[in-house]
């Protein structure tokens, strides 16, 4: 079955793939992602990192990292600036040699491939292009080096919306356009594994929506999507799984939902025209109250009391409420709590 599927011409990521994306997503849901890796063992698109360590002199950038990234999901790679995300990605891609430990993609050290684009597509930095070359020439050279047919260049340029700019020199591109070109580069070989380092930097809101949909679609096609970011909110919107690191060490590797649930601080948002009165009542009841929201809006952030209790207290004291919302712990908070002691460059205060 596997061989009959792979024997035909490769449709690539094109409009037909778009159309079939939903069908495929449904099939994945039924059959599970393991069915999507036939013939190639069960580790098809898995990224496996084992005891990965990189030292520069006496500074340890990555310290004994071990984690696995699975196909069919978007996995976020989170950490504060300087946590070692980019160094880790570089070692997975064989650009940097680990001091010890190792990483494999699909069971193979990436550097052992003689050509890479059909195995892993990566966007490490949108600026990693020659400014004097056109987008089309850049992609054509890369495609040719991997024996990828030249028509793929037009396909991926269309996919990322750069068809109009294809013949313009990359030096004149905005950061968002360079990110799109970087994504086009990653898609060129139609690879089972995709890695992106901070892909939404410099993108406009429309571009951000577009990449989110793209990442979801790529994962639903059974691919491994590994996505680094220092923006927790972005992960909340895009990722299924998280790998969180701080100071080069693993902090957590679990589903996004579990990670968010780690946060111990839960708060309730209260909006009332009688903020001063309610604050006094809540403080008396043992809650912590902080002003919340924009100036002029009467928002209070209450911790230490559940919403029902706050509502009852307001009712008893004839305080009118406009809003009473329990805030589920945000990824942001969970992240800040977990990485508070592993932030590389602390800005002034600690809390």
């Amino acid at each position: 079955m596997a061989s009959s599927l792979t024997a035909g011409p490769r449709p690539g990521i094109d409009l037909r793939a778009y159309a079939c994306g939903l069908v495929r997503a449904a099939r994945v849901a039924v059959a599970g992602p393991m069915r999507m890796t036939p013939g190639d063992g069960h580790r098809g698109g898995m990224i496996e990192v084992h005891e990965l360590t990189k030292r520069y002199g006496d500074k340890t950038a990555v310290d004994g990292l071990t984690f696995t990234v699975r196909p069919g999901q978007v996995t976020g790679f989170l950490g504060p600036n300087g946590a070692g995300k980019t160094t880790t990605l570089r070692m997975i891609l064989g650009l940097d040699t680990p001091t010890s430990g190792g990483a494999t993609v699909g069971g193979v050290r990436f550097a052992d491939h003689s050509r890479g684009l059909r195995h892993v597509g990566a966007l490490l930095d949108a600026h990693h292009v020659h400014p004097g070359r056109s987008a089309e020439a850049h992609l054509r050279a890369l495609a040719r080096s991997n024996g990828i047919p030249a028509r793929r260049v037009g396909e991926v340029l269309e996919e990322v919306g750069l068809t109009e700019a294809a013949r313009r020199r990359v030096g004149g591109f905005s950061l968002g356009m360079k990110q799109r070109l970087g994504i086009a580069t990653a898609l060129l070989g139609d690879p089972p594994v995709l890695m992106f380092d901070e892909p939404i930097n410099g993108m406009d809101p429309e571009g951000v929506m577009w990449v989110r949909r793209l990442f979801r679609r790529l994962a639903s096609e059974g691919r491994t999507v590994f996505l680094s970011s220092h923006l927790m909110t972005e992960m909340e919107n895009t990722a299924d799984q998280l790998v969180v690191i701080g100071r080069g060490r693993l902090v957590a590797a679990e589903p996004v939902r579990d990670f968010a649930a780690r946060s111990t601080r839960r708060s309730v948002l209260v909006r009332t025209p009688q903020a001063a009165e309610l604050t006094a009542v809540l403080l008396a009841a043992g809650a912590e109250v902080e002003p919340d929201g924009h100036a002029g809006s009467e928002g209070l952030s209450v911790t230490g009391l559940p919403a029902e209790r706050i509502g009852a207290l307001a009712f008893d004291n004839r305080v009118m409420l406009h809003e009473l919302t329990t805030r589920s712990a945000s990824l942001e908070e969970a992240f800040m709590e977990l990485t508070a002691d592993s932030v590389e460059y602390l800005a002034g205060q600690s809390r």
């Binding site: 009959s4 599927l5 792979t6 035909g8 011409p9 490769r10 449709p11 037909r16 793939a17 079939c20 994306g21 495929r24 999507m36 890796t37 036939p38 013939g39 190639d40 698109g45 196909p71 570089r90 064989g94 650009l95 040699t97 699909g106 990436f110 052992d112 491939h113 003689s114 050509r115 890479g116 684009l117 059909r118 195995h119 892993v120 990566a122 490490l124 930095d125 600026h127 990693h128 292009v129 020659h130 400014p131 004097g132 070359r133 056109s134 020439a137 850049h138 054509r140 050279a141 890369l142 040719r144 080096s145 991997n146 024996g147 580069t185 139609d190 089972p192 096609e221 059974g222 691919r223």
Partner: protein, 285 residues
């Protein structure tokens, strides 16, 4: 079959049906990279026009001075016609242009970070360096011959007005032409090596200029040890190989040998490319 091919292919099949990696594809890719930069074409135009112009100027000077020459100079064979065809001033620009383009082939990728994109696409780093070396060699060999044949024809055309030409069939003239042509790929590969070692375009071109142009000037031909060092450099080899006659060695004058100069043309590029392959494979990208 046709229904199957319209289905999205399992993503992991990519690794399975990848065609065999071919070195020629890498060469083709590097050629696309080279020709898709405008600066390449400017450099090539300059590298061709300057030696042509220099040959025209040198030949015109001899044409103008002809009436002042004594019977020895005016008698055939007209040895100066070889020098006029391949003047060092013109070919210095060829050496620097080819060296700079070779250096940029490596350092340009490091400067922009493109080298990381390239290395992810082709993890076989040594093959990338070799492909660049092939492209530089072929491109500059073609351009070098255009320079050499052109400057020879220009100089001969001008000197024919004084019947002071020298035929290609004359002993050593073809060798001189080949040396003038091949200095371009030699310097391009030296530049490639320096570019790989230094990884910075400005630094690489600076070092290249120092090595190719300036350093040999510190060593004269009038002491044995000094001339031994001088003759290790390509500029000296170029000088010797484009001469069809030189005074024999005597105290106070130690010219380069033809064999030694030919070896300089071979060893520099080979060592440069080997060093580039070694360092690029060894170092983090």
């Amino acid at each position: 079959m046709s229904t199957l091919t319209s289905l999205p292919r399992p993503a992991t099949a990519a690794a399975v049906d990848a065609p065999r990696a071919r070195f020629l594809d890498l060469v083709a890719a590097e050629w696309i990279k080279l020709r898709s930069l405008r600066s390449t074409w400017w450099t090539l135009v300059v590298a061709v026009l300057v030696p042509w112009g220099a040959a025209a100027a040198a030949a015109t000077a001899d044409y103008d001075n002809w009436p002042n020459y004594g019977p020895r100079e005016q008698a055939a064979p007209h040895l100066f016609a070889v020098h006029d065809s391949f003047p060092l001033e013109g070919y210095l620009v060829v050496m620097l242009a080819s060296g700079a383009l070779g250096a940029l082939a490596m350092a340009g990728e490091y400067g922009s970070g493109l080298i990381r994109t390239t290395t992810v696409a082709v993890p076989a780093r040594g093959s990338v360096v070799l492909a660049k070396a092939v492209v530089q060699t072929v491109a500059w060999t073609v351009v070098g011959w255009i320079c050499a044949v052109g400057s020879y024809l220009i100089a001969q055309a001008i000197l024919s007005g004084r019947h002071a030409t020298i035929p290609l069939s004359y002993d050593g003239v073809l060798r001189a032409m080949a040396a003038a042509a091949m200095v371009a790929p030699v310097c391009a590969l030296i530049g490639l090596g320096i570019g790989a070692l230094v990884r910075h375009a400005g630094g690489a071109i600076g070092i290249l200029t120092f090595v190719v142009l300036l350093l040999p000037q510190f060593f004269s031909q009038n002491k044995q040890w000094s001339s031994d060092i001088r003759h290790v450099f390509p500029i000296s080899a170029f000088g010797r190989l484009t001469e069809i006659w030189t005074a024999p060695a005597h105290p106070g004058f130690y010219p380069a040998t033809l064999t030694g100069s030919t070896l300089v043309y071979l060893i520099w590029p080979v060592v440069s490319v080997a060093a580039a392959v070694w360092i690029v494979r060894r170092r983090d990208v």
